[in-house]
């Protein structure tokens, strides 16, 4: 026997058994169980002699083989004359099933593997910007607005942020003021809308006013690029574009 094959070449006892069947060119459906059991046990002995750690599963299969062998020695028929099932049947089924998965895994290995045989685009894709063109405008939703709002609040000095301002300047006033300014200028940035008095009360009111205007579809809000300035337009005028 050749013992050069290292144990870790085998993926388990079933793999070793398949190897022995193939090496002896045996018919998997009619395994000469005595022969294969002997070879299997010899193999295990050799491996033990080499002080290799044997997984418990190898011994379990050894016991199974010995058990099958002993059953094969019994008469083929029972007292009633019925045929006993072949004691090898279960093991053969397991071997066939294992062999199918082993082949399936080999077929996986032969596919075009990503980063081995084929590669996807490397790095981040760069979108060439249009030269000297207007920045790309992306219509934004509520959350960009919330984010802008958050940033605006973040720019305030700490004492002002803590102060809770309950001045009831009417929201309607703020809405009217924004609409008025938008009719004069074609568009305004969020920063421009609050530049007069960048204080918490005004920022909050401006924000709520904008939310209300967006909701009523009186204005539209765009962002220049992904992280660009937020710009507010009158909805009607935007339609003319």
């Amino acid at each position: 026997m050749d013992y050069e094959v290292k144990l870790d070449v085998f993926e388990g006892p079933l793999d070793l058994l398949l190897h022995l069947i193939k090496k002896n060119e045996l018919d998997i459906y009619d395994i000469p169980i005595a022969l294969i059991t002997r070879q299997y046990l010899e193999y295990l002995e050799a491996l033990k002699a080499l002080n290799l750690d044997l997984a418990g599963e190898y011994l379990v299969l050894a016991a199974t083989l010995v058990h099958i062998k002993s059953k094969m020695l019994l008469p083929e028929t029972t007292d009633e004359g019925e045929e006993e099932p072949d004691p090898r049947r279960e093991l053969v089924e397991q071997l066939l099933e294992y062999q199918a998965f082993k082949k399936a895994s080999q077929s996986l290995q032969t596919r075009e593997l990503l980063d081995r045989d084929v590669f996807a685009r490397g790095g981040a894709a760069v979108t060439e910007a249009l030269p000297q063109a207007t920045p790309q405008r992306v219509e934004v939703g509520l959350f960009e607005l919330v984010d802008a709002f958050r940033q605006a609040l973040g720019r305030l000095s700490p004492p002002e942020r803590i102060e809770i301002d309950l001045d009831r300047t009417s929201l309607a006033d703020r809405i009217n003021a924004i609409m008025e300014r938008l009719r004069r200028h074609r568009s305004l940035t969020f920063a421009e809308l609050i530049e007069e008095r960048p204080e918490r009360r005004l920022i909050v009111h401006t924000f709520i006013a904008l939310l209300e205007l967006v909701r009523q579809r009186l204005i539209r809000i765009f962002q220049e690029g992904s992280f660009g300035t937020i710009r507010v337009f009158l909805a009607v005028e935007e339609e003319h574009e």
């Binding site: 590669f119 060439e128 790309q136 992306v138 219509e139 509520l142 609040l153 709520i208």
Partner: protein, 175 residues
């Protein structure tokens, strides 16, 4: 396409950053291709892509070569990268805001706040992985409880949920 040109195209495509002529010569040393030949391949590739008028072009950048999407497509690519506003219906956005602020929340509560059935937008948001089912509330009917996902934070560039402004900040002043 001749083989050298195809290899060079593949290398540039798979490279992490613009690929220089020197580096290409180095990688293809066994093929005994010199700077001049590489430069010629690059010139031909650049022209070929220019002519194709496809989705990307070969450009000389920072001393190397890189594929970049055509400038005219910027608006569509930005839309894909943003992966949001344009694609959100107002209903979905409102529903998402409610789930974000009110989570863990049941559908009945979303319905109540929007004044209209939220079944469809909730389903859309679930499918897009922006909200998820946290469990079932232990009341009659065992309604499902919704919350936002990690993807929600990613899509909206939030570090965590605490980064959302508190509703109180709006409420106090809105009344």
């Amino acid at each position: 396409m001749n083989e050298n040109k195809a290899i060079i195209e593949g290398l540039i495509f798979a490279a992490e950053s613009p690929l220089t002529v020197e580096r290409i010569v180095e990688i293809l040393r066994e093929r005994e291709i010199d700077r001049r030949e590489v430069a010629m391949c690059l010139q031909e590739l650049t022209a070929a892509h220019e002519e194709r008028q496809g989705g990307f072009l070969l450009r000389e950048i920072a001393g190397g070569y890189q594929f970049r999407t055509r400038p005219e497509l910027a608006v569509w690519i930005a839309r894909m990268k943003a992966g949001r506003p344009a694609a959100f219906t107002a209903a979905a956005l409102e529903t998402l805001a409610i789930v974000a602020y009110r989570q863990p929340v049941v559908k009945a509560e979303v319905d109540r706040l929007r004044g209209v059935d939220a079944g469809r937008p909730l389903r859309t948001l679930l499918e897009r992985g922006l909200i998820r089912i946290l469990g079932r509330k232990d009341v009659p009917g065992k309604p499902m409880i919704y919350g936002t996902t990690r993807k929600f934070l990613e899509v909206f560039g939030l570090k965590d949920l605490a980064e959302l402004p508190t509703l109180g900040e709006f409420k106090d002043l809105a009344e």
